[in-house]
């Protein structure tokens, strides 16, 4: 059974019960350089393992870039 989330503005299905850590491991990313907000609320790294993603969550996974 899957839920639907928005990840960085794009719709995506993930398994029910997926944690942030799970999600990041499914992506081809360097998780040490990714910070997470769910529904515009920051989720610190030390909560990634416990934090279970909910249906309709809107997730931003951000990484460093140049800035002005």
């Amino acid at each position: 059974m899957t839920i639907t989330i928005s990840l960085n503005g794009e719709s995506r299905n993930v398994a029910h019960g997926t944690s942030i850590t799970d999600l990041l491991s499914q992506l081809d990313v360097d998780s040490s350089l990714v910070a997470i907000a769910i529904n515009q609320v920051f989720v610190p790294r030390d909560q990634h393992a416990q934090h279970i993603i909910q249906d309709n969550d809107t997730i931003d996974a951000l990484s460093p870039v140049q800035g002005g």
Binding site: N8, G9, L27, V29, D30, L33, V34, A35, I36, A37, Q40, V41, F42, P44, R45, D60, A61, L62, S63, P64, V65, Q66, G67, G68
Partner: protein
């Protein structure tokens, strides 16, 4: 003054308790290449560079390459909240930046209009208040409105960054009178002109007015030669700072000879 005065003033800037020797804060965006960015950072002599966070792009490497590049410079990072339109967004982004960049410094941008990219002075104060409570050291990108600045100080900001003109326009100081008022009234808080500086003479002018530092990006990154331009701005900021310390002469409306008048030759002839 006497001849025992030092030929160079002892003059460091404190920002939230950190001492910086360069008064030039430089952005890292818009350079033609990462190599040019690095050379410009070096040429600028800056101690502080601005960075940001963005959603991962498929082709990116989670910012690893950029991360590695900036580690090679002995500079402090000042992450920004560019693109945020509400206090809520800016607060979330600030927290994410603190986690990734390991700094509680945050350049707080809360944009109120997508065309002139000006601050939303209402959301800005809300965000500054909460971020300060969350332990951040907030560098707010603000307007030149004295009342807004006072609210930001009340919110706990210890540095203010009023704009010169809209971001990326290069129009310089659109309202020097307002900037003079801010400096005159807020004597103890570091004031950094952020945004709109287009030419070194703009930066010199800001520093002559007593501003403590200048933050810019586009004017260097989009110059034909960003490296020389970084150096140009470094000189201009030093020039303005020294002039402020040295005490600029007062403008006169009446001409006044520099060469001595006493003993003018041929004087009987007039």
């Amino acid at each position: 003054m006497t001849s025992s005065h030092p030929s160079t003033p002892d003059d460091a800037l404190q920002l939230y308790g950190e001492t910086v020797s360069s008064r030039f804060l430089l952005g890292t965006a818009l350079y033609p290449s990462p190599e040019v960015m690095q050379q410009a950072i070096t040429a600028s002599g800056t101690n502080i560079i601005t960075v940001s966070l963005r959603r991962q792009q498929p082709e990116s490497d989670s910012g690893r390459n950029f991360w590695n590049l900036i580690q090679q410079h002995n500079v402090k990072l000042l992450p920004n909240t560019a693109g945020c339109h509400t206090a809520k967004e800016a607060i979330a982004l600030a927290q994410m930046s603190r986690e990734l960049f390991s700094t509680d410094w945050i350049k707080l941008e809360v944009i109120g209009d997508d065309y002139n990219l000006q601050p939303d002075v209402y959301e800005l104060v809300t965000a500054a208040t909460e971020l300060t409570q969350l332990g951040f050291k907030v560098f707010p990108y603000c307007t030149d409105d004295l009342v807004v600045c006072q609210r930001l100080l009340d919110a706990g900001c210890e540095v203010l960054m009023p704009w010169g003109s809209p971001i990326g326009t290069g129009q310089g100081l659109l309202n020097p009178t307002a900037l003079v008022t801010l400096r005159a009234r807020l004597t103890d808080v570091p004031l950094i002109v952020d945004a709109g500086i287009g030419r070194p003479s703009h930066a010199t002018h800001a520093m002559e007015l007593g501003y403590d530092a200048v933050l810019l990006n586009t004017a260097v990154a989009e110059a034909h030669n960003p490296i020389w331009m970084a150096k140009a701005f470094a000189h201009s900021i030093e020039a303005g700072r020294l002039a402020y310390l040295a005490g600029t002469v007062i403008e006169r409306t009446q001409a006044k000879p520099s060469t001595p008048v006493l003993g003018t030759p041929f004087w009987h002839s007039h």
